[in-house]
Symmetry: C2
DNA sequence: CCTCGTTTGTACAACGTTGTAGGCAACGTT
DNA sequence: AACGTTGCCTACAACGTTGTACAAACGAGG
């Protein structure tokens, strides 16, 4: 019930290669021959065997997108854009979840050499530059700042200035005790480090003191971590009048903790996030946030990969910056 | 820099097949031969070419999961579980977004015959049983009620009784004017039809009238649709004292619209959803909902696929039911 | 020392596709 | 009439892997 070129060829009374030529749109096929072949293809419902084609061509037409977790909305939204952008190049996207575990990330990064995929777009959490070193020039594009100093092409946003801008927004609204949620140990969380730096820059520029007690770490960046960190900030020390959460899910968790503590947002405490996920447009209150241009990030990543695949694989790694802007909503309405 | 069995064989001084045997763990290989081969493999950093292996074996080790949209949290969470369950069978999961468009769904369903994937787990929105008819026995598992009467194996939950249970919960709390959000034209939205039926059953059993004006349609099941439907219910006719939204994102949208209208949840209006997505555990207020066992759904779907792959492809289609339970949270606290 | 069975390894073909080389008409040009 | 050119098509080999068939080496038992 499953047919091959050979079956079509026999039915149409031509050679296997002629059928192949028809399938691939080769021009020098007589119209009547082409018609006969196409008829046979339709009758047998022939579809090419991609494994065989890939074996022959050395390319699979599949790229992978590896992210820590799919049910983190930011990555889900990003995945959507990557799939769309890849479709323009005729690529199928294999989506991989690493769970942010170094071992799993290593497997994915080396799975690339299994010839199952032509290239990889990778958003690593735990991987180091050394892990990537041994992966001979297989095309890969990194997202985010986790791995720097160019073992591979990379797409980033300007985390420092974005964090600085949203913090300045809080300062402009008159907030003075501005907390930050989401800091991490320096050997992981490169994004955390940069966002913290932008936050500190803004404070310094405004003549505000940087207060260690206002900076809450978060092991992961989920809602639960945001809620826990917020509760911690509320019980210890003086209450902040604004909070900069290093991503939106942290912020949604913080909103929840503030609600439970009987505090109003933004009247008692203003809250901002980072990522502009869909949830933040419908939360109560709606969430002010930094909006990275996810579509652009996806497009640039796919383009870098395409260039690498068709072009010089040994060329020096490139780094592209995607734009961002602020989305100001209810959680920072002027009190 | 990329090596084949042949390269390893030459280096180890054995035949190509012996290397293949070592790679595949064939037993009758002398320890010293095995060691020599393994050394050569390590030195060359050899990795098998999966395209070739698949061509030879007729299997690719890849299954696809096709969902309408990845950034709908329910599907993202489900995807996570499917990836995990598939890993137990050594399968990689190719995730596909159909956007709920019939054309795209058809492409995916027939892409299955491209030999790129061994099987498909499919959550169709627009596809009909006829679309699936021509797909000769390629293993496929359907999720949800969209396509019924068994052209393929299927995993469902008991939508009618789940909807009835959560509606009964609202009735028990003393609510009498219970609205429903999410109804759809009957030729699409089979889940909507079943949930509406459960809702109506519960009303009838309690002696409450079924009021057309309290049933709001929603073209899609996103937050924005929920908010719009809720606003509609509030402006026309008598205000409901409870709302059953046919999924959680609709409910989150409804919460938002109620908030904007100055109504308190659950004091003025109680709200329940369906799906138990992560967001509902942190929304303000937290959301009472029907919690389908997503892990079980994923596991059953993968198992059905595995049975179909290894077993009788012509066997009659099976339908498995996954359990669900109620998660009662703040949005229905006794007023 | 021969026989027999097991262990260990090899050679070959095949999976389904496409690139290369080439053959055979039909055509226009010298 | 001989020639090159072009259009159309075919035969063959190759992509890298594994199943099948079989050969060589080995050990045990008589």
């Amino acid at each position: 019930m499953r047919h091959r070129l050979k079956d079509v060829a026999e039915r149409a009374g031509v050679s296997v290669k002629t059928v192949s030529n028809v399938v691939n749109g080769y021009v020098h096929v007589r119209p009547d021959t082409r018609a006969r072949v196409e008829e046979a293809i339709a009758e047998l419902n022939y579809r090419p065997n991609l494994s065989a084609r890939h074996l022959r061509k050395g390319r699979t037409g599949v790229i992978a997108l590896a992210v820590p977790e799919l049910d983190i909305p930011y990555f889900a939204e990003l995945a959507r854009y990557v799939v769309t952008a890849a479709a323009d190049y005729g690529w199928t996207v294999l989506i991989d979840q690493t769970g942010g575990r170094r071992e799993q990330e290593r497997v994915v990064a080396s799975g690339i050499t299994d010839h199952l995929i032509d290239g990889l777009i990778f958003s690593p959490l735990a991987l180091t530059a050394e892990d990537l070193a041994g992966l001979d020039g297989t095309p890969m594009v990194l997202l985010g700042e986790r791995v720097d100093h160019g073992p591979a092409d990379r797409v980033v946003i300007d985390n420092v200035s974005a964090a600085r801008q949203i913090t300045e927004h809080l300062i402009q609204l008159g907030h003075r005790r501005i907390a930050a949620i989401g800091s991490q140990r320096t050997d992981e969380g490169a994004s955390a480090r940069l966002r913290l730096a932008g936050y500190a820059e803004a404070l310094r520029a405004a003549g505000l003191a940087y207060d260690e007690n206002l900076v809450a770490p978060a092991p992961a960046w989920h809602r639960a971590d945001g809620a826990a960190a917020m509760r911690g900030l509320l019980t210890t020390g003086v209450r902040p009048d604004a909070v900069f959460c290093f991503n939106d899910t942290l912020a949604l968790g913080a909103l929840r903790a503030l609600h439970e503590a009987g505090l109003r947002v933004p009247e008692d405490v203003a809250v901002v996030g980072f990522d502009d996920i869909e949830d933040g447009r419908f939360s109560i209150p709606t969430l002010s946030t930094v909006a990275p241009d996810k579509e652009q990030i996806a497009r640039l990543a796919v383009e870098l990969l395409a260039n690498r695949l068709d072009g010089d694989r040994a060329a020096p790694a490139r780094e592209l910056k995607a734009p961002h802007h602020l989305e100001l909503r209810e959680s920072t309405r002027n009190p």
